[in-house]
Symmetry: C2
Subunit: 415 residues, 2 copies
């Protein structure tokens, strides 16, 4: 892409995102819907000004990892731990229910093959953590109890999604699966989840120390950014979703990340504990500096992500006259809604919270798109199956922000 | 490029830039040298970790237009106007002297063809405004009188460079040139230079107004960024260098940009004058908000630009055993230094200022590289001619920051 065209694309995306989200907010619509619609508008679905170009997609990826970094910075692991098994239950039900229901619909009602039915079921398991978080943000509810459960569940869901994709991919290629290989990836991911915040914290501590004696300006910001990029790369290297890297780095540098020990009687152990507690003590100075300096970058890059999701939803590929597309799409849509909504009812929470949690898990967004596009590219899905999935992804992405807003205003007004 | 590789590249570049510039500063070396060396190190010249990839180059371009935006914001047009014809004289001499001397060396001493000699002469006229500005910045002298002259001259030089390139390109393609076509481009560029600050100011005023009633955060920043991108695109569209767009947008939104009129006796004219003065009055609020919010973006993107200049200087393409490369390279290097140094002596300034101005005009940087790479791609230059130019570009880029630092400390210590 020529540099002038790149500048024009970027300006068009930024302006459209801003314009649509501004108009949306003034009409009581969540701004993320404005950004998704901006993408549909300037993308190939309508005007065709912007194409899903590689460079733009890479910039959008910076947007989503920075957003997840911010989410991580606001995540209180101890509070998350207090919600106990709830996020795990929500993630598991929200994974199994759409998978099984989707498989059954495809295999028995539409006579699709085993691998195709599995792949479509897998696509329906996706949860777009980016869109979920943005809606909770827009509603100013990211700190609520149910939001903590949803974020925990969405992170787990992303991991389950990556494992499913690896599994199905292998199955499609070799017509058989090795549970050992999938298990190995799962172990790497769990190791990454457990160890990376500690590693990121250590690096963060070093950065903080150097930032006090730096002779060039902006050290803190560029080093923190490098940390996020490196951990995202590392996440991908161990087989986890890249956004896990941003999230882990955010958790590590958050104000809530610290160590607590039971008091020990041994003098040596007590000293080690003291040292460790000191090392891992959160630094509100670092936290504050990062928040203020990171914000302009997040404001610039995050909208790129949501607009590019809209740009990637190319409605022109759908054969709107096909009855098959509408029938399959309609049934899968139902499955996609019910499967995730059900997740909320398997945990002990007030009824309103159960529904809010279920609604928040519905958006498939870019995660579903990645599944569907891979299926098309691999020849597992034909164009009409892809179209049906596109319909499901578009509606599960665009409807929940509205539904959540209406539901929150009515049943969970701010305390 | 895969997303994980992109993250890794970006992190490596950011960390290397920071590390090298930090070490440079602690040894009294200008940080920009650190960033250029970081590029040589991680690029194909040494480690080969980062290749001059398209996406990275586009991100680097954002860096340079943002840097020129910042320069524009700090530029006082009235003060620039007070330096009168000085920047014009410096730009003209700094253009003609290396061109003619370079041509003579190639044509008479090395028996090169007419078009090749012209092209090499043209390459020697380049001035890298980015590197010049950074060095003045590093020395904390961007606001000095001689810096104003240098910045004005460097901007003019960039325009002359683009015209020369268009001219030589046409000559190489069609074996004849149309002065009319070049003249047309020149007129467009002059129109852009004169009109764009007013247009940018009007847009800036609209942005400012909306930013007060915005319902979504970060409007000011993303809209200002869009403005810079759009004006850079527009600059390219009229045939001017893209950086002119960033510069024009910066000038328009600077605290110094305002209109003054002679008092008019006509009531109507006086009223129009009053309205215009009001509209074009600088807003220190907008200026301050832009400065603080733009800084994190500049700190992130600008080093990318300088590192990518280093990455693009691939020393492995040079046949170091060739006597021809060393002879031609050596003579052209002499011409490149003398030609620009001479420029300072054609204006009335204290001797020290004359030398400082001449030194500041020497860096060829990315502008010279673009010339040389185009010549190679078009088959005008063979690999040994390209190698000789690469040598000239590398040394004229790396030496002046040192020379300027030493010169300033010794002969122009801070007032």
């Amino acid at each position: 892409m020529a540099v002038d065209q790149f500048f024009l694309f970027l300006a068009v995306i930024l302006i459209a995102a801003r314009l649509f989200s501004e108009v949306a907010v003034r009409h009581g619509i969540p701004p993320v819907i404005g950004e998704l619609l901006a993408g549909l508008m300037v993308g190939p679905s309508l005007l065709g000004w912007v194409t899903p170009d590689e460079t733009m997609k890479l910039l959008a990826e910076i947007g989503i990892i920075l957003l997840l970094f911010e989410v991580g910075m606001d995540t209180d692991l101890y509070r998350l731990a207090r919600s106990g098994t709830k996020p795990i239950v929500v993630a598991m039900v929200g994974f199994v229910a759409p998978f099984v229901l989707g498989y059954l619909v495809c295999y028995y009602l539409f006579d699709l093959s085993n691998i195709v039915s599995l792949f479509i079921g897998g696509t329906l398991t996706a949860t777009s953590i980016g869109i979920t978080v943005r809606v909770l943000d827009d509603l100013k509810r990211r700190q609520s109890d149910e939001a903590q459960i949803v974020i925990g569940a969405a992170v787990l869901d992303d991991i389950l999604g990556v494992l499913t994709l690896a599994f199905l991919y292998q199955f499609a290629e070799q017509k058989q699966v090795s549970l050992a290989a999938t298990g190995e990836v799962a172990i790497y991911i769990i190791l990454f989840m457990v160890l990376s915040p500690f590693a990121a914290k250590l690096v963060g501590r070093v950065i903080e120390r150097f930032s006090h004696t730096a002779s060039t300006p902006g050290l803190l910001l560029t080093m923190a950014l490098s940390l996020i990029l490196l951990f995202s790369w590392l996440a991908h290297a161990v087989g986890a979703p890249v956004i896990m890297g941003g999230f882990a780095a955010g958790v590590a540098l958050s104000q809530h990340f610290h160590l607590t020990f039971k008091a020990s009687k041994s003098v040596f152990t007590a000293r080690v504990q003291h040292k460790l507690t000191e090392w891992f003590a959160p630094s509100s100075e670092l936290h504050h500096a990062l928040e203020t300096q990171m914000r302009p970058l997040i404001h610039t890059f995050a909208p790129l992500f949501f607009v590019m999701v809209g740009v990637s939803l190319n409605f022109n590929t759908v054969d709107w006259s096909s009855g098959f597309v509408w029938q399959l799409g309609g049934l899968l849509l139902l499955v996609a809604f019910i499967g995730k909504l059900a997740a909320g009812f398997f945990i002990k929470e007030p009824r309103a919270n159960q529904i809010a949690i279920g609604l928040a898990m519905i958006p498939r967004g870019e995660v579903g798109l990645i599944f569907a596009q891979l299926g098309l590219a691999q020849g597992i899905l034909d164009i009409s199956l892809y179209a049906a999935l596109l319909l499901v992804i578009a509606l599960t992405t665009l409807a929940p922000p509205f539904l959540m807003k209406v539901f929150y205003v009515r049943y969970l007004p701010e305390a």
